[in-house]
Symmetry: C2
Subunit: 153 residues, 2 copies
């Protein structure tokens, strides 16, 4: 019996709550926002004693390793970048997708299992001074790609 | 760096989200409800391989030990009952209150840090066939008493 299930269950309930049809604030944006604030604060505590990262890529690597491991008990499997502010983080067994079975109908439901994490990554980066847009792409459950676009303005 | 902080941070954000002044659903009931559904599902998984409890007191002891430890990394310090459906669970260092400093102003804020857990206990009991009303009483931070009243109707 792992203590991870506490986090899993709480996440599941927030998904349900945010996407409850009876509510008017029935959208993924709320879920993304809860992820954002959670990620922002988590990183505040996680990086308290860490020296500043030397550049954007170092920061991104930290998200893929330490940050991801803290939350999902594994690292991101693959990180790619075009060296111009675009990053793709691939997780071949994304935790919130490992319990649902593959299939067209399940794939339709995928956005609600990744919205929180899009916000989480955006919030974690924001805390480290990087403004970004994060989207997710699920092609085959439980694999997921998170696309991070750094906003340089 | 404990993995517990993930759960802590997520809880903190849900508190903020549910009690956000800009929202119309600005009340503790929402928080209690999220706790209820979380507790219900948690116990569903936690008691899957457990034999049925012989009576209400046994069930309550399970909440005070295994269930509490899973979530708060410690047991309830004291359990009292009037043997007629009333139970008082005392936690002398309740996790969500350990990070706020004692004081009158902080005490005023206490309800928002205990509402989720009231729901959590109610949900866990409901999953085990016990309908109850759960309230919390904070007299000295970080100590907290949870009052469980079993509804026998």
């Amino acid at each position: 019996m792992s203590e991870e299930i506490v986090f899993d269950c709480l996440h599941a309930e927030i998904v349900n709550y945010c996407l409850d049809n009876r509510k008017d604030q029935n959208d993924l944006a709320t879920l993304e926002y809860i992820g954002f604030t959670t990620g922002y604060r988590l990183n505040e505590r996680l990086t308290r004693d860490v020296t500043r990262f030397k550049d954007e890529l170092e920061t991104m690597k930290f998200i893929c390793t330490d940050f991801w491991t803290l939350i999902y008990k594994k690292q991101v499997d693959n990180l790619r970048t075009n060296n111009n502010g675009m990053y793709v983080l691939q997780d071949r067994a994304f935790r919130f997708l490992t319990r649902i079975s593959p299939g067209a109908k399940q794939l339709e439901q995928a956005p609600k299992f990744v919205a929180f994490t899009c916000g989480l990554v955006r919030g974690a980066l924001s805390n480290l001074g990087i403004n970004s847009t994060v989207t997710a792409e699920v092609q085959t459950i439980p694999a997921c790609r998170f696309h991070v676009e750094v906003n340089r303005s």
